[in-house]
Amino acid sequence: MAKRIDVSGLTAYYGSHKAIEDISMTVEPRSVTAFIGPSGCGKSTFLRTLNRMHEVTSGGRVEGKVLLDDEDLYGAGIDPVSVRREVGMVFQRPNPFPTMSIFDNVAAGLRLNGSYKKSELQDVVEKSLKGANLWNEVKDRLNKPGSGLSGGQQQRLCIARAIAVEPNVLLMDEPCSALDPISTLAIEDLIGELKERFTIVIVTHNMQQAARVSDRTAFFNLAAVGQPGKLIEIDDTERIFSNPSVQATEDYISGRFG
């Protein structure tokens, strides 16, 4: 079930370094929101605060609120482990578990959540691989290692693994930056289908990609190196790419810097 994300006054640190400052935004359920901005502006850091992965990095800590519908992810007594079961993530480099078969990779998240019958697992694995547009390519070799697939297939395997546990939100951190154009297109098509079921947030360096896949676009920027990254504006993608309200956004999109 897709949920709304409501961030208010979020600041994240690496040790004493403030990486992002005072970010507030709302992400509607069943929509795709793209984060764009120059390197080091904190968009990936911000993404990782949405499933409490930021604090895994040593010295990482977060102030502020992230509401998933009405539940504060950083509230007292909230277990980060259960947050991550609700908010799935796909990484920049495809990272299927190298020691597991394709089947076991997709089933990995389910097995964490409890014991399933073999037939139940098979159903979910098939459904997830179909959902990730990978089923037809791998259905004859589910017991082969996932690391034997091509880069694009591996990334779709990772998406299948992430959606197998039916998260409420799916975060994607530059999911296509290690892929060739055809694999990228396959993932972009997939994002279009997945937004029927999930709330999707995607970080991308590719502005055409942001324009193609997203409903809303957020532009992040930093004043100077060493300064914290800030959210400059968030608006409908169409508006950001045609008539942004902030000059810096227009400069970035038209390639005048960044």
Binding site: N51, M53, V56, V81, S82, V83, R84, R85, E86, G88, M89, F91, R93, N95, P96, F97, P98, T99, M100, A108, G109, L112, N113, P145, S147, G148, C158, R161, A162, V165
Partner: protein, 334 residues
């Protein structure tokens, strides 16, 4: 201006630049490459020659002894090389060596893996460094020191454990105890476990440290707890490395001489109980008999050394086979 007439003039022969001259002088084969190739190839061949020389030496001397052995070399429970005819066999030594090494592995491998996981995934960085240093120190202690510690401290303090084992597991026969001094296989196994702990821990720690961050993050992002991350990403990735580490430890346990010779009270017999004193290992037997052995007695000891050599080779081969069997899942191709 007519270009074609200009082109008919021969262009001036270009002088080779200094860099080009240098390149030409060096030719196709670079001396550095050749020297390094020779060195590395020579080292490889040297290693093979040494191995072959050891094997030939052991086999030759062993044949001299075994050909005169009136007992069955593999099954005889005696070691009488001075008698006429000589009767000796390695059954007791093979049993003692393998049993004490198995005990050592059963104790040391889980503890070493646990320590390595603690150092890489649980301990705060400030604590991890000093602990790793202490473990390195353990590896540097000479084996005779372990032997003395084992004989003077460990043996007198085993009574409590032995009583307990006898009370609860004595009925199995393996853990029955006749209240003798604890100079037994189990004590030797425990001592060997302590001795091989550092090497297994250190190698495992290196392996666990090399687990790519992205695999651990993959597990974390699925909602894995720290232990589940270790189970899903760290242990499978480190599996072959831990096996290699264990084999290094096993190699040391199989060949350990002084510590075993100091702790064990050898009687050249196989005992069902691991608690009662007695037994013997290849290395211990060689060390304690070599000094006073006749020429023929030495040949017999060398024959037993050959068996240890073969056992070690078999163990290593088995370990390599286990690692190779799951190579495509090893993570090396990730």
């Amino acid at each position: 201006m007519d270009i074609s007439t200009q082109n008919t003039q021969a262009p001036p022969t270009p002088q080779p630049s200094p860099a080009e001259q240098k390149r030409a002088a060096r030719g196709a084969t670079r001396p550095g490459d050749r020297i390094f190739l020779g060195l590395s190839r020579g080292s490889g061949i040297f290693l093979l020659v040494i191995m072959a020389a050891i094997a030939v030496f052991l086999t030759y001397r062993a044949t001299l002894a075994i050909s005169k052995d009136e007992g069955n070399f593999l099954t005889t429970f005696e070691w009488n090389t001075g008698t006429v005819p000589p009767v000796f066999g390695i059954a007791v030594l093979a049993y003692g060596t393998i049993v004490s090494s198995i005990i050592a592995m059963v104790i040391a491998v889980p503890i070493a893996v646990a320590i390595a996981l603690f150092l890489t995934h649980y301990a705060p960085r400030k604590l991890g460094g000093p602990i790793a240093y202490v473990i390195d120190l353990l590896a540097a202690v000479p084996s005779i020191v372990y032997g003395l510690w084992g004989a003077l401290i460990l043996v007198p303090h085993m009574d409590g454990l032995f009583h307990w084992l006898n009370d609860y597991f004595g009925w199995t026969g393996i853990f029955s105890w006749e209240e003798g001094p604890a100079r037994s296989m189990l004590t030797v196994g425990i001592l060997l476990a302590i001795m091989i702990l550092p090497i297994i821990t250190n190698v495992s720690r290196e392996v666990f440290r090399q687990v790519p961050q992205m695999h651990e993050e993959a597990a974390l992002a699925l909602g894995a707890t720290r232990w589940e991350v270790i189970r899903m990403a760290v242990l499978p990735f480190g599996r072959s490395g831990v096996i290699s580490a264990s084999m290094l430890g096993l190699g040391r346990a199989l060949g350990e001489t002084m510590a075993v010779a100091t702790v064990l009270s050898p009687d050249f017999d196989i005992h069902a109980s691991l608690l009662n004193p007695g037994g013997g290992t290849f290395a211990q037997n060689i060390a304690s008999k070599f000094g006073e052995a006749s020429e023929f007695g030495r040949d017999a000891l060398i024959a037993s050394g050959l068996v240890l050599f073969v056992i070690t080779l078999l163990v290593n081969g088995a370990a390599r086979a286990i690692i190779a069997r799951r190579k495509e899942y090893s993570g090396a191709n990730a």
